[in-house]
């Protein structure tokens, strides 16, 4: 009895200190001056632009990295080839490298003096200090999540169900859609949640490549930092709260895919 409640107390205290109290403080501080300043902060044209940019980046990055992650997971689990260990390490690279360094390498390659920089600028599509660079930085930072979540699930389900589907006449694409995809669905859902969280929350890499031009290349995350440094705390807290709400909505949407209890 004591052990059971003791463990709960430890877990709850831990969560409270790390999560519940800080997030609660954000909510409290956001509304500390009533609703009017929050509304002003929300409807500020620059804030709306930042929200739009954050969503835009997430909407481009999350599907691309999901597709990439599922494909890579299939390759890693179902194919044998030389250099597999190296590829596995490469996929994990974004976890190992500091995001700020990622930003700098992007500038080295695509920046004004970089390898391809001039080419893209001449075409009228600058990469650095522009949306494409921020998308690239975010893609890199959130690359491994779907792959790493799906790989163990694929390993666990094995290939027998797929072989059974083949003997029953299903072609490769039918087997994938009807058997493999539903079986790895929950892994994909976790991967998408993590990718989304990282995509809307990425700071370091995006800060380096964006130039943080207010109203143009400023995401919500960058705005939190900017407004905080400008002592406009209500604006900073409001932006932070927006990020939290996006995260919660993602979690809620993904929970709609929750597998049935009887599994």
């Amino acid at each position: 009895m004591i052990v059971r409640y003791g463990l709960r107390l430890v877990a709850l205290t831990y969560l409270a200190l790390l999560l519940i109290i800080p997030v609660g403080m954000i909510v409290a501080h956001t509304f500390s001056g009533g609703l009017a300043p929050v509304w002003t902060a929300l409807t500020d044209p620059d804030a709306i632009k930042a929200l739009g940019l954050t969503l835009k980046i997430a909407i481009i990055v999350v599907p691309l990295n999901t597709l990439f992650g599922i494909t890579m997971a299939l390759v890693m689990v179902r194919r044998e080839f030389r250099g597999k260990a190296l590829l596995s390490a490469l996929i994990d690279l974004p976890f190992a490298v500091s995001p700020v360094i990622v930003g700098f390498t992007l500038i080295l390659v695509y920046g004004m003096n970089g390898w391809f920089g001039e080419f893209f600028i001449n075409q009228g599509y600058p990469i650095i200090f522009s949306t494409p660079g921020m998308v690239l930085a975010t893609m890199f930072a959130s690359l491994p999540f779907v792959c790493r979540e799906v790989i163990p699930v694929l390993r666990e389900i094995g290939t027998e169900q797929e072989q059974a589907a083949a003997t029953l006449g299903a072609r490769a694409h039918q087997t994938f859609r009807r058997i493999t995809l539903p079986a790895i669905r929950w892994g994909i859902v976790y991967g998408v949640v993590l990718t989304t969280a990282r995509a809307i929350g990425e700071y370091g890499a995006v800060a380096v490549v964006s130039g943080n031009v207010i109203g143009q290349t400023q995401t919500l995350t960058l705005r939190v930092s900017q407004e905080y440094q400008n002592f406009d705390h209500i604006a900073a807290y409001t932006a932070a709260l927006e990020l939290a709400v996006i995260a919660l909505v993602t979690l809620f949407l993904m929970n709609l895919f929750h597998p049935r209890k009887d599994h």
């Binding site: 027998e160 169900q161 072989q163 059974a164 589907a165 083949a166 003997t167 029953l168 006449g169 299903a170 072609r171 039918q174 009807r178 058997i179 539903p182 079986a183 669905r185 597998p259 049935r260 009887d262 599994h263």
Partner: protein, 326 residues
């Protein structure tokens, strides 16, 4: 439909899984691929199904070349040892899978699924998920799923291997009855010689990637061509150079010209028969099987000196010649 396998070879790295295997399975028969683990029996079944590609050799199903056909186009049903149930689908959806892939009409699918669930005694279980079924029920569901598309050939890979003894023996009898009703050409893999003898018309015994003997169950039991076959098909004693089954050991109280001296070590009551463990010529352990009447008549008890002779025995001229040459 008949199955023909011609000179099939298959390696996994350095391991030779199938070594020049040829086999004819007549249409409508029930054949057991029997052998110890690593003998190549499962690989042979998977080559027939198209789930493994042979390195060399050909497979014909119903007289048509199938060597290069993918499993989808071989018109087979396959049952896996661990059921391979589609976990996210209900039992009815599992059974309907092959029919839905073939785009059959909805009412036809529904009717056929109901028929099959009835056949495998799972009527009323259609809305459950595989995780809510017992092992035996899951395997019956897998069988219904394989039979739904009316395959020409039914292939089963250790279908009862993961089930407990009682369910296993029920399903064996049930598979035999099912085959007698449907007459679909059936090949099943097993490592259990009793299972092979109980269910099949023909046993194909494999060892080290080769077929060592094939024939009716009683032929393999009574006329084994090698020591391996004799040992694999049932218990066996070796007295000097001769091999004798426990039920062919004759025990006498008086010597005659052909008997050897023995001492009773243990007398075990096995239910319908008595097992007597003896030591022959002061060394070789021999196990004999007697009826209760015989044992009572002889009054056997531990320590008692007796005389034994093999009523029926086999000798094997050393190792097979092919091996001696190579």
């Amino acid at each position: 439909m008949a199955i023909t396998v011609r000179n099939v070879n298959k390696r996994f790295g350095d391991f030779v899984a199938l070594d020049d295997v040829s086999l004819d399975v007549p249409a409508g028969s029930l054949t057991a691929l029997l052998g110890p683990s690593g003998s190549g029996k499962s690989t042979l079944l998977r080559v027939i199904a198209g789930l493994e590609k042979a390195d060399q050799g050909d497979v014909f199903i119903g007289g048509a070349e199938a060597t290069k056909l993918p499993p989808q186009r071989r018109d087979i049903g396959f049952v896996f040892q661990h059921y391979a149930a589609f976990k996210h689908m209900t039992v009815a959806k599992n059974v309907a899978f092959g029919l839905e892939i073939r785009k059959r009409r909805k009412d036809e699918v529904k009717r056929r699924v109901a028929e099959l669930l009835d056949l495998v005694q799972l009527d009323g279980f259609g809305d459950r998920y595989p995780s809510q079924l017992s092992g035996g029920q899951r395997q019956r569901m897998a069988l219904a799923r394989a039979l739904a598309v009316e395959p020409e050939v039914l292939l089963l890979d250790e279908p009862f291997g993961a089930l407990d003894a009682k369910v296993r023996s029920e399903l064996r009898a049930w598979l035999r009855r099912l085959h007698d009703e449907m007459h679909v050409t059936t090949v099943f893999v097993t490592h259990d010689q009793e299972e092979a003898m109980e269910v099949s018309d023909t046993i194909v015994l494999m060892d080290h990637g080769r077929i060592v003997q094939e024939g009716r169950p009683q032929d393999l039991y009574d006329h084994p061509e090698t020591e391996f076959v004799m040992r694999f098909m049932g218990q066996v004693n070796r007295i000097g150079d001769v091999y004798v089954r426990p039920h062919d050991v004759e025990i006498r109280l008086e010597p005659n010209g052909t008997t050897e001296a023995a001492v009773v070590e243990r007398v075990l009551h096995m239910g319908h028969h008595i097992r007597v463990d003896l030591t022959v010529n002061g060394g070789d352990p021999v196990s004999a099987q007697l009826t209760r009447d015989e044992a009572e008549r002889l009054g056997l008890e531990p320590g008692r000196p007796v005389f034994v002779r093999p009523a029926k025995a086999r000798t094997f001229a050393g190792e097979p010649e092919a091996e001696a040459v190579s």
